[in-house]
C-alpha cells in the first residue's frame, strides 16, 4: 500500500511556555522549540505499521519553511521511506484551504492508496484532512483510532466518539483519514536515528513544481486570517472561597456553571 502522511512542525505545548508577544502579533518565538505535531506522529507510526504488515511505502510530506525538513527527517528516522518538503514563499500564511490545495497538487503527482493526517495540531484547526478529501473527492473519516486492512480496496476503521466509544465503519480506498492519538504507541526516535537519515535527499517542491496558481494559496488566497494573539483570562493563585460551607458551595457552583463544569 502506498501511504502518504501529512505532517506539520509545531511548538509542542508540553515543551514550551506559550506566551503572547506584547503587541499581540504573534506568540513569543525566541525560546520556542519545535517538534512534529503529536497527532501526526501517531499517523506516521500507523502508516509504518500498515506498511510493515501489507507492504508498500510510506511518504511523509509537509508544507512549511526550510526548517520543517527536520520533522520530515525525524519521521523518516522512524521508518518512513520518503520525505517531500513543500516550501515556497508564496505558501506563507495560507489558510487551511490553501494548505489543502498545496497538498492536493503534490498528491496528484503521485499515486497513493491511503492519505493520513493528524486529527489536529496545537496551532491548527483540525481541518486540512477533511478539506483535502473533499477537494479530491475521496472518502474521509476523522478521529480514527483503529485501522484494519480488509483487502486491497477496503479498510475497517474505528473512530473515537463521545464517552470513549468507538464508531466502526468500512471505508473504500483510496481515502483520507485523520488519526487520533492513542491509535498506537509511536516508536522513539533519538539523535542517532536522525543522523542515520541526515544525508537522505528530500526534494523541495514550490509553486512552480506543483503547477499551482500563486493566488490560490498563501495570504492572497486565504479567506480566513488570524488577526492577533491575546492571552486568555487566567487568574494567578487560587481565589480562596470563604464563608460558611453553604456560601462556599453556592459560590463554587456559580463558578462551575460559568466554566462548563455543570450543565
Amino acid at each position: 500500500m502506498e501511504i502518504l502522511v501529512c505532517v506539520k512542525r509545531v511548538p509542542d505545548t508540553a515543551e514550551n511556555e506559550i506566551e503572547v508577544k506584547g503587541d499581540g502579533t504573534d506568540i513569543e518565538r525566541d525560546d520556542l522549540v519545535y517538534s512534529v505535531n503529536e497527532w501526526d506522529n501517531y499517523a506516521v507510526e500507523e502508516a509504518i505499521q500498515i506498511r510493515d504488515k501489507v507492504g508498500g511505502s510510506v511518504t511523509v510530506v509537509t508544507v512549511g519553511d526550510e526548517e520543517s525538513e527536520e520533522v520530515l527527517r525525524r519521521e523518516m528516522a522512524m521508518g518512513a521511506d520518503n520525505g517531500i518538503l513543500l516550501s515556497d514563499d508564496a505558501f506563507e500564511n495560507s489558510d487551511g484551504k490553501g494548505v489543502a490545495a498545496i497538498l492536493k497538487a503534490e498528491i496528484e503527482k503521485g499515486k497513493y492508496d491511503l492519505i493520513l493526517t493528524g486529527a489536529q495540531a496545537d496551532d491548527g484547526a483540525g481541518q486540512v484532512g477533511g478539506m483535502l478529501a473533499a477537494m479530491m473527492d475521496l472518502p474521509y473519516a476523522s478521529l480514527v483510532n483503529l485501522i484494519d486492512v480488509v483487502d486491497d480496496s477496503t479498510l475497517k476503521i474505528g473512530r473515537e466518539i463521545e464517552g470513549g466509544n468507538q464508531e466502526m465503519s468500512e471505508i473504500g480506498l483510496p481515502c483520507v483519514l485523520s488519526i487520533q492519538t492513542g491509535i498506537n504507541e509511536p516508536r522513539y526516535v533519538g539523535i542517532r536515528g536522525i543522523r542515520k537519515v541526515a544525508s537522505v535527499d528530500i526534494p523541495v517542491h514550490g509553486v512552480a513544481d506543483l503547477g499551482l496558481p500563486a493566488d490560490a494559496v498563501g495570504e492572497t488566497g486565504a479567506k480566513v486570517k488570524r488577526m492577533d494573539y491575546f492571552v486568555p483570562e487566567m487568574g494567578d493563585g487560587a481565589e480562596i472561597l470563604e464563608g460558611s460551607t453553604e456560601e462556599i458551595i453556592d459560590k463554587l457552583i456559580e463558578h462551575l456553571k460559568a466554566k462548563g463544569g455543570l450543565k
Binding site: 514550551n16 484547526a125 481541518q127 473533499a134 473519516a141 476523522s142 465503519s169 458551595i249 457552583i253 463544569g261
Partner: protein, 322 residues
C-alpha cells in the same frame, strides 16, 4: 433577511445541548438573521426533535430517511450540499461529528471555514470576527473569516450560552424529498461501547480527581457520587493507584495520563509538579484541600480549605438538588 443554518445533533428524540448554543452563536453573527435548523434522521425520534426545535428556530428543516438513522458524515455532507443554498452560513457543534463533516462541507459549499469557535464578535460586512484558542488554550486569537461566499463555522460546545427563549415560533419544513443520493464510500457498521471500568479520563471534560485526602478506598464512593452529579469522571493522583484503589488508567500525572479537561476538581490533591505535569491546557481548577499551604492552591483558580470527606457530600447534595 439573511439566513443562518445550524446542523442539529440529536439522540433518542432529544436535541443536543448545542442546538440552543448555536442560536446564540448565530445571533452574534447577525441578530436579525432567520435561523434554520437542519435535522436529519428517521422515524418518531426525528419528529419529536424537529417539533421541539420549532420553538427556538425560525425554520426547522427535517430530512427523514432510513439511511440517515445513524449520522454518517460522508452521507450527510452530500445531503447538506444538496439542500442548503450556496453562499450560506452554516453552524455546527465542534465535536466528533462536526470535526468529521465540517471541513469537507466548506470545500463542497465553496465557503470559508473556521473551526472550534469560542466566541463570535459579530459581522463586519462580509467578514465575521471569531475568537479561537491555540496551543491547548495557552493563547487566544481573533480570526476574520471572509463570509462573502458563505461560511462553515464549528462552535465549541459549552462556549456559547444556550438560547432558552424559545420564542421563535418557527415552522417545520420537510425537505426529505430534496435529499438526493444518500450513498457514500464509507459504511457505518456499529458502535463499540467503551468497556466499563476502563474509562478514558483523557476524554472527559470534567474530572473529579482524588488524592490522598480521600484517606480510604471506601471513600472513593463519595468522589464517584460527586462525579455522577457533575457528569464527570473520577481520576486520581499516584498514591491512589499505588494503593491499588483505582486503576492505573485513572492516574493523572507525568507518570500517568495527560488530561485536558475543561474543569479539574482537585480533591485532596496536594499538587506535586509530577501530578500537575499531567494536566494540560488551561482547565478551570478547583482545589479542595485541608492544608491551606498545599501547592495546588497556587495553580488552582478557586480554592477551598476543607476536608474533602466533609465537603464533597455537601456539594454533591447541592448539585443533585438543582
Amino acid at each position: 433577511m439573511s439566513q443562518i443554518f445550524a446542523y442539529i445533533l440529536h439522540k433518542g428524540g432529544v436535541a443536543d445541548d448545542t442546538a440552543l448554543e448555536l442560536i446564540s452563536a448565530a445571533k452574534k453573527i447577525d441578530a436579525d438573521a432567520s435561523l434554520i435548523a437542519v435535522v436529519t434522521g428517521s422515524g418518531a425520534d426525528l419528529d419529536t426533535v424537529c417539533n421541539d426545535l420549532t420553538a427556538s428556530y425560525n425554520e426547522v428543516w427535517k430530512i427523514d430517511n432510513a439511511a440517515l438513522a445513524y449520522p454518517n458524515a460522508e452521507v450527510i455532507r452530500k445531503l447538506l450540499v444538496n439542500i442548503i443554498p450556496g453562499g450560506s452560513i452554516i453552524l455546527i457543534a465542534h465535536e466528533h461529528f462536526g470535526m468529521d463533516i465540517a471541513p469537507g462541507l466548506s470545500i463542497k459549499m465553496n465557503t470559508s471555514f473556521v473551526s472550534d469557535a469560542m466566541d463570535i464578535e459579530g459581522r463586519d460586512g462580509g467578514a465575521i470576527k471569531i475568537i479561537r484558542q491555540e496551543y491547548s488554550g495557552m493563547a487566544s486569537t481573533h480570526v476574520t473569516c471572509d463570509a462573502g461566499d458563505g461560511a462553515v463555522i464549528s462552535c465549541r460546545p459549552g462556549s456559547f450560552q444556550p438560547d432558552e427563549s424559545k420564542s421563535a415560533g418557527g415552522q417545520l419544513v420537510d425537505k426529505s424529498g430534496d435529499a438526493g443520493d444518500l450513498t457514500a464510500n464509507r459504511t457505518f457498521l456499529e458502535v463499540v461501547q467503551a468497556e466499563t471500568g476502563d474509562v478514558d479520563i483523557t476524554k472527559s471534560d470534567i474530572l473529579v480527581s482524588v488524592g490522598r485526602g480521600i484517606e480510604d478506598e471506601e471513600n472513593l464512593e463519595i468522589a464517584q457520587e460527586l462525579a455522577d452529579a457533575m457528569g464527570a469522571v473520577v481520576s486520581c493522583s499516584r498514591p491512589i493507584v499505588d494503593a491499588k484503589w483505582m486503576e492505573k488508567s485513572r492516574q493523572v500525572g507525568t507518570s500517568g495520563q495527560t488530561v485536558k479537561p475543561k474543569v479539574y476538581m482537585a480533591m485532596g490533591i496536594s499538587g506535586s509538579f509530577q501530578h500537575l505535569g499531567g494536566i494540560k491546557g488551561s482547565p478551570f481548577i478547583v482545589a479542595v484541600n485541608k492544608n491551606a499551604k498545599a501547592p495546588i492552591f497556587q495553580v488552582a483558580d478557586v480554592g477551598i480549605v476543607a476536608d474533602i470527606l466533609d465537603f464533597m457530600p455537601e456539594l454533591t447534595e447541592k448539585i443533585g438538588g438543582m
